[in-house]
């Protein structure tokens, strides 16, 4: 903080004439933010920096992590087919979950948007409220629905089908993740629908556009930014999800998050676990930024 105060010190601000307040005017807001800043400096910036440093350490099974600067952990994670499979599965699950959330969440938000009010608020609440229920609880609910004697298999049994092995499959992970992530898709689409003027839709219809054309040409472009930000959110959260793959994937179907957990609390290879986590963070950021850039460019072009 001190250096910030110095750099905008009295000499500079006087030189900037009267449109800039003197530096001591900034002291109250700085002081007000200081306690929270200290907490975040100690507990976000420092631990993250330490974790990055840890990824360069060497691991010795007998004595634990040894301070070093080498890229052995990165090379191991990136070249070993075991970890490649885990990363491929993680991102495959995240992509599938995102697509399903778009396919379910966007139409559902539109259906809600066209409802009248007691129903609209009620169903909106039904869809969003599970967001606040612990993810462990929801994962457990899905494991009961999907297990061999569960409701879903009993339903298939009525038609003489099954029982299928649904629990401990990629399918189970994706279904439960869609359930957890759906609100993150509905919220931004709903928000962008609020800005949609119903009169424009009516105008298109009165000009003989079919309902399908109206939906495609009027509604869809308006909610595209909402779908985009929802997808980014869902993808990021799914790729780093821990509880759902941990409880519904079993020990065999590892994803990046459960692999990190095993490295840290099982085999105690912290440098390797930290490397997987940092790679997950980087991959997540890169994919999200690229996706965002591409869609943003296309979007701004279509608007002229």
């Amino acid at each position: 903080m001190a250096s910030t105060i110095d750099s905008t010190g009295s000499d500079n601000s006087r030189a900037l004439k009267n449109d800039r307040a003197p530096w001591h005017a900034f002291v109250p807001p700085w002081l007000m933010s200081l306690p929270a800043f200290i907490l975040f400096a100690v507990l976000v910036l420092t631990p993250l920096a330490m974790t990055v440093v840890l990824t360069f350490y060497r691991f010795d099974p007998a004595s634990g992590p040894i301070a070093a600067f080498q890229f052995g952990n990165y090379i191991e994670v990136l070249t070993d087919s075991y970890y490649q499979t885990i990363f491929a599965r993680t991102f495959g699950i995240a992509i599938l979950t995102t697509l399903l959330c778009v396919a379910i969440g966007a139409p559902e938000a539109y259906v809600l948007y066209r409802m009248r009010d007691p129903w609209r608020s009620m169903f909106l609440l039904v869809i969003l409220a599970p967001l606040l229920v612990s993810v462990v609880v929801r994962a457990f609910g899905w494991s009961m629905l999907l297990n061999t004697g569960g409701i879903v298999n009993q339903f298939f049994g009525l038609f003489g089908l099954g029982p299928y092995k649904l629990e401990y499959t990629t399918f189970a992970i994706v279904i439960a993740l869609v359930h957890v992530m759906l609100p993150f898709m509905v919220i931004p689409v709903w928000t962008s629908l609020q800005k949609l003027d119903p009169q424009v839709e009516n105008a298109a219809l009165s000009l003989m556009a079919s309902p399908a054309t109206t939906l495609r040409r009027i509604v869809l472009p308006q909610i595209a930014p909402g779908i985009l930000s929802g997808s980014l959110m869902v993808f990021g959260l799914s790729a780093s999800a821990f509880a759902i793959p941990g409880l519904l994937g079993g020990r065999r179907l590892k994803v990046a998050a459960t692999a990190v957990y095993d490295e840290f609390l099982g085999s105690l290879n912290w440098p390797l676990g930290a490397t997987i986590a940092i790679l997950l963070l980087i991959a997540n950021l890169v994919i999200m930024i690229t996706y965002y850039r591409v869609l943003e460019r296309r979007y701004s072009r279509s608007l002229g």
């Binding site: 900034f26 800043f37 066209r114 612990s134 994962a139």
Partner: protein, 264 residues
Amino acid sequence: MRKNGLVALSFHTLVILFVLAPLVIIVLVAFTPDQTLTLPTHGFSLRWFRAILDYPDFISAFFNSIKLAFASATLSLALALPAALAIGRERFPGREFLNGLFLSPLVIPSLVLGIAFLRFFAMIGATGSFTWLVAAHMIIITPFVMRLVLASVSGMDRSIEHAAQSLGADRWTAFRRITLPMILPGITGGWLLAFINSFDELTMSIFVTSPQTITLPVRMYMYATESIDPMMASVSALVIFVTAGAMIVLDRVYGLNRILIGSH
């Protein structure tokens, strides 16, 4: 605006069923009199709720979670409120940076924060400390408090506060009598949302809790990976009831749609 057609309403019904199914099934199974998790259940019994009382691990984890959520939500509010007042109402160098920093835990996966805390706590010898666990939870929940308080601060009219000051109220009185009541819904809403999020947190906590400080979600996760019996359902049902209760209060205080969507 046209009404939803039959196809749209059938789709909607399926989505609602999908959303409610896992929660409804838990509540149904929680009241089973049977020894195992089978459906349909035969009859109605509270035996698995009584079973929780004989299982001290869940009881102590529940009280740990309540203490943790209460402490971290309250302390987080104490730090976030002045910061939000500064960021929401003043223009000063570093404002954007601070705002970004305070909201950053929303974009850093909890998993990464979890291992970062584990590493940090091991270095400073704070492993298993309840105080540091509170601090770790404060990081995760501060963005929620910040967002709600910021929303209510930036929406308020400052001229009323200035009027009070020009009528002779000192700054503290003006804040206490004018500003505070105006942003109170944002403050209580932020506190409750922070409480719920801390109470539910699993992914970060699983790395930094010790057997003494273990929280309810972590205990439930461990229990569910080891054994599956109807007690898991009764504990889950209790969590659903507690969350639903908190949600009703939250809805009264601030409006649940406003919290979840950010607007009316």
